[in-house]
């Protein structure tokens, strides 16, 4: 028997499948008679479409169906809606939401926007036909810069939306912040850019769907993070009942937010499958992935910190310009507004805070959440301004942070941004991280580095996080008489290891053998609802749904045990996988109770065979507040500007740790993406043509194994949250919050004395070299 507990490093059940090429991804799924669809994408950033000539494409070999933007419009399908939680501007007027069709018919607004869907017997035939489709474009001026898009005279994207502005929003007390700023000894100011990046999941987006005319229903597999919500929205677009679609997420190769949004293609695939009465498969290639996946981040901000000469923080004000892309994505306007506002100020105390954001439309792919969805931007804003303040004030950056961390005694508190911080111990986490970094040895390492012509730098970056995503989650456990169990959940892993962690919770709670628990996720037939993946919700929502379901199973088990022992339910205890009656030798293991639950002879009145099977919906009260502290040591080669991250230390407070190895994986992956954003990743559009310049992995730099630093990870487990029964706080996005400021500030520390006060991300070697050069001249 494979007995497990909370806190055990249980190895990933899914890895053998993944590592031996046995994963079941979209392109691995074949349906009998399947045809292949490709999206014809706009080569222009902004153009009027005068018409389509699809005759040649329709006549091309193997072609089964050509749906142009005009054909789609004629069908009268709905636009792709946005589900932004921020719906109003600061003045109470609704935010501007343009119609986003699944296929453009009269105007394209970004390179890569779909204008037609072509289905053929083979993918190559569909591609050949795509080259024959004649779209009459009249190019228009484009704008790809989020700040310039809001300026007077900029090319306008949407009729009826003035100045490309989607949302103008604020949070916090402007007057109190202004007063506290004035009262402070000084105001430290910094303008900074949070670079635009893309998730670049290893598996591109794709879907395969079949239609059953008899029941007028669909089966769709999709590489998505969010099957229930995406199914419902796609059904809304097509004007069909959601429960006519069974939507399944098979093995999904990464998402990072980019597979969370509702995209045009699934609706096209469903439509084509019904029209042709044949299964239709569509899978993006890597180039399409760069062009048509949602991108993330992209904010131009001014951050102001009111601080006294002794280092006491008084007030924080952030004024930011975010970017939506050509249309509102699924989360859309929320990311640069509410998403970035909530964790403003990090784990530090302020008298007042104020956040103000505008975000508008550009001729670029839509932006939507990318791992952290606004919080890494907030974390970067506060940690960069704190570092700058330390240098302006002549205070050790470590001391300045230590001085302003919210002490444990002040928790629980509600921040000026309305965030409910219930528990944690920021100073202890900070000291624990600092202690790992070997500050004593730093001077010797620095001297050695200098002797080799390099410069060593260090920075520490505490962060404050919050979770999010759908507030409900469902788990279903079904048993077999032999004692095995099957767990189905509506939360979803795109690689994180839920197939291990969630059965681990069930096995630990019920005392079952891990090896005898089957697992299903991301199938609308398996759970009535599900929130998928997003907002670091996997353990907080999925884990608690499993725990709650297990709790209900134990209650039913107690009733069965009481019946078997011929005693009262309240005399039955459950511990360590067994039901027993106190002060007697009556004992029955969970496995025995499962067996009994299938035997009418052994069940109490009112219980049917199989009634131990349980489905339960967990509903979140208030989101949890993960927090922690990152620290980085970097070595800069001043001759070339090249940076090596030579040390990285993390302490995270994720509350209860269910499986440390899986938590480590989340942190390392997040740090990898944070490092990527800090040092090399950059999605660049050419301002004149609106073309995506970084449209391949030859031009878009992703970090590789040899870019990763040696990492030491620890957890602070002294503050499990009471906001949920497991006591967990989300772990998925934290790495992206801490790593960019830790790395950037460490680079600036390495350059201390050269007069460099700021470098925009990504800190490419040339950017660093130029900053040194400019400061020296």
């Amino acid at each position: 028997m494979n007995k497990v507990s909370f806190g055990d490093t249980v190895r990933r059940a899914e890895d053998h499948r993944f590592l031996t090429g046995k994963g079941n991804y979209i392109d691995d799924i074949t349906m009998p008679g399947q045809a292949h669809g490709v999206v014809v994408r706009s080569p222009y950033a902004h153009a009027r479409i005068n018409g389509f000539d699809a005759d040649a494409a329709r006549r091309a070999p193997g072609v089964l169906l050509v749906v142009t933007g005009a054909d789609w419009a004629a069908q009268g399908f709905g636009p792709i809606p946005t589900k932004s939680a921020v719906k109003e501007n600061r003045d109470g007027t609704p935010i501007a939401v343009p119609d986003r069709p699944c296929l453009a018919h009269d105007r394209v607004r970004y390179v890569g926007e779909g204008v037609a869907f072509i289905v053929a017997e083979t993918r190559d035939q569909a591609r050949d036909a795509a080259e024959l489709l004649d779209v009459d474009y009249a190019p228009m001026d484009a704008v790809t810069h989020p700040v310039k898009a809001l300026e007077p005279g900029a090319p306008q994207l949407h009729d009826g939306i003035a100045d490309n502005l989607c949302v103008d929003w604020e949070l916090g007390d402007a007057e109190a912040t202004e007063a506290a700023m004035r009262a402070a000894d000084r105001i430290v100011r910094l303008e900074l850019h949070n670079n635009r990046v893309t998730g670049a999941p290893i598996e591109p987006r794709g879907a395969i769907a079949s239609y059953d005319a008899g029941t007028d229903s669909y089966l769709m597999y999709q590489a998505t993070q969010n099957i229930h919500a995406n199914r419902n929205t796609t059904a809304e677009i097509l004007g069909i009942e959601a429960d006519k679609i069974r939507h399944v997420g098979p093995d999904v190769g990464g998402g990072f937010g980019a597979k969370n949004s509702v995209y045009p293609e699934p609706a096209l695939v469903l439509h084509a499958a019904k029209t042709l009465n044949r299964p239709v498969k569509w899978v993006n290639d890597r180039a399409e992935s760069f062009l048509s996946d949602t991108h993330g981040r992209s904010q131009y901000s001014t951050v102001e910190l009111g601080v006294d000469d002794d280092g006491t923080f008084r007030a924080l004000r952030t004024t930011t310009v975010g970017e939506l892309g050509a249309y509102c994505g699924t989360v859309g306007a929320f990311t640069p507004t509410g998403g970035s506002a909530r964790t403003q100020g990090g784990p530090y105390g302020f008298e007042a805070m104020y956040y103000s954001a505008r975000a508008g439309f550009t001729n670029t792919a839509p932006l939507d959440p990318y791992r952290g969805a606004g919080r890494p931007e907030g974390s970067f804003q506060i940690e960069r301004i704190v570092e700058k303040a330390a240098r302006e004030l002549g205070i050790d950056p470590v001391e300045l942070r230590r001085k302003n961390l919210i002490p444990k005694e002040r928790l629980p508190l509600k921040t000026a941004m309305g965030l409910d911080v219930d528990c944690g111990d920021f100073p202890t986490v900070f000291e624990q991280a600092l202690a790992m970094t070997d500050r004593v040895g730093f001077q010797a390492r620095k001297a050695a580095s200098e002797a080799a012509g390099k410069r060593l730098g260090f920075a520490i970056a505490p962060y404050l996080e919050c979770t999010g995503g759908m507030p409900k989650e469902h788990a279903v456990v079904t048993f077999t008489a032999d004692g095995s169990a099957h767990l189905a959940v509506g939360s979803q892993s795109t690689g994180m290891g839920h197939e291990t962690a969630l059965p681990q919770i069930l096995a630990a709670t019920l005392g079952l053998d891990m090896a005898r628990i089957g697992f299903t996720q991301a199938d609308t037939d398996a759970t009535p609802l599900g929130g998928g993946h997003g907002g670091s919700r996997g353990m907080e929502m999925g884990g608690n749904a499993v725990l709650q379901t297990a709790g209900e199973i134990i209650e039913k088990g107690r009733a069965i045990a009481a019946h078997l022992f011929e005693t009262d339910v309240d005399k039955i205890d459950f511990e360590d996988g067994s039901f027993f009656e106190k002060d007697t030798n009556h004992i029955a293991s969970m496995t025995e109770i499962i067996a009994a639950s299938f035997d009418p002879e052994r069940l109490p009145d009112g219980m049917e065979p199989g009634s131990l099977n349980t489905g339960s919906t967990f509903e979140r009260g208030i989101i949890s507040i993960p927090n922690g502290c990152h620290a980085a040591e970097v070595e800069v080669d001043p001759d070339t500007g090249a940076i090596a991250v030579t040390g990285f230390w993390v302490v995270d407070d994720f509350g209860t740790i269910i499986n440390p190895m899986l938590a480590d994986g989340q942190v390392m992956g997040g740090v990898g993406q944070g490092l990527g954003q800090a040092l090399m990743e950059n999605a660049v559009y050419d301002e004149a043509s609106g073309q995506l310049v970084t449209g391949s992995l030859i031009d878009y730099a992703l970090p590789r194994a040899d870019d990763m630093p040696p990492m030491t990870l620890e957890y602070y487990e002294g503050a499990p949250t009471k906001k949920n029964p497991l006591g967990v706080k989300g772990a998925g996005e934290a790495g992206c919050c801490g790593a960019p400021p830790a790395i950037v500030n460490a680079v600036l520390d390495a350059l201390d004395g050269l007069g460099v006060t700021h470098i925009e991300m990504p800190l490419t070697p040339e950017a660093v070299w130029r900053a040194i050069d400019a400061a020296g001249s």
């Binding site: 190559d124 001759d639 030859i698 031009d699 992703l702 490419t764 070697p765």
Partner: protein, 264 residues
């Protein structure tokens, strides 16, 4: 990918014939450059002539003061070759810096130099060692081989069979890789043989080139200091997303000094 005829000749002569007979033919060696452009539909040859079944095109031999590397020899084979490491360690080192293990196990010397990517590594070694490119019909000196951006002295259908690298007294290659592709943003190959010094620069310009001023300075005094004062003009250098011309000019100096310091 568009459809094409796939031909796998068993001799160099048959390969040349196949290409001559094709409407728009392309040799394929490791396919590391060709296949991606086929997949992206940027190249649409009518015929692909695969060189992998031709005997004798792959292999390494050190003789007569030269390292002779067959055109179909993979980068991985050169990087791992004890003979190359003994004779010209810088050449093995360079091959080991190319791309990633997948690319190194497929990509070939012949494909690399025939393609003459401005950011490729091998052209720096070929030019920096003053190698000789051997084809079916003739021998071409390195100085004459690389003519322009993706252009070489090869005639249409001319097949590279081998490259002969003379063994120098000392050589070094220092590369500043592009973080995305790992091709060279700037790579400098320096060799010294008798009194002659060669400095070949890849990545910086449209085509690999020799840096005459550095060669002259190093011939007089072989030290990093000797070239510290050589100013590199940015005018004709590549200016793109990954690096500006000024930065590349600066890197040429840094990489060259580091290469010299390695062997001085």
């Amino acid at each position: 990918m568009h459809d094409f005829n796939f031909i796998q000749p068993k001799s160099a002569a048959a390969a040349a014939d196949a290409l001559a007979g094709a409407e728009d033919g392309q040799y394929m060696a490791g396919g590391q450059t060709l296949i991606p452009v086929l997949k992206q539909r940027l190249a649409m040859p009518t015929d692909v002539v695969d060189l992998s079944a031709i005997p004798g095109l792959a292999g390494i031999e050190v003789s007569g003061g030269a390292v002779r590397v067959g055109a179909m020899t993979t980068h991985a084979a050169v990087a791992a070759s004890g003979a190359v490491r003994d004779a010209v360690p810088a050449l093995a080192h360079l091959a080991g810096l190319i791309g990633d293990p997948h690319v190194r196990n497929r990509g070939t010397l012949g494909g690399s130099i025939a393609n003459n990517d401005p950011a490729a590594d091998y052209p720096a070694a070929v030019l920096g060692l003053g190698a000789t490119v051997v084809t079916e019909s003739r021998e071409i000196a390195a100085d004459d081989f690389f003519t322009d951006l993706f252009e070489t002295a090869l005639d249409d259908g001319e097949l590279v069979t081998r490259v002969d690298f003379p063994v120098p007294d000392a050589a070094a290659y220092v590369k500043f890789p592009n973080p995305a592709s790992r091709y060279a943003i700037v790579g400098v190959f320096v060799s010294r043989a008798g009194g002659a010094v060669r400095v070949a620069v890849t990545g910086a310009g449209p085509c690999v080139f020799r840096q005459a001023e550095m060669e002259a300075a190093l011939s007089a005094e072989f030290s990093a200091e000797a070239i510290a004062g050589v100013a590199i003009a940015a005018d004709d250098l590549n200016n793109d997303l990954h690096a500006s011309a000024e930065y590349r000019a600066h890197l040429v100096g840094v990489m060259a000094r580091r290469a010299v310091a390695e062997i001085a």
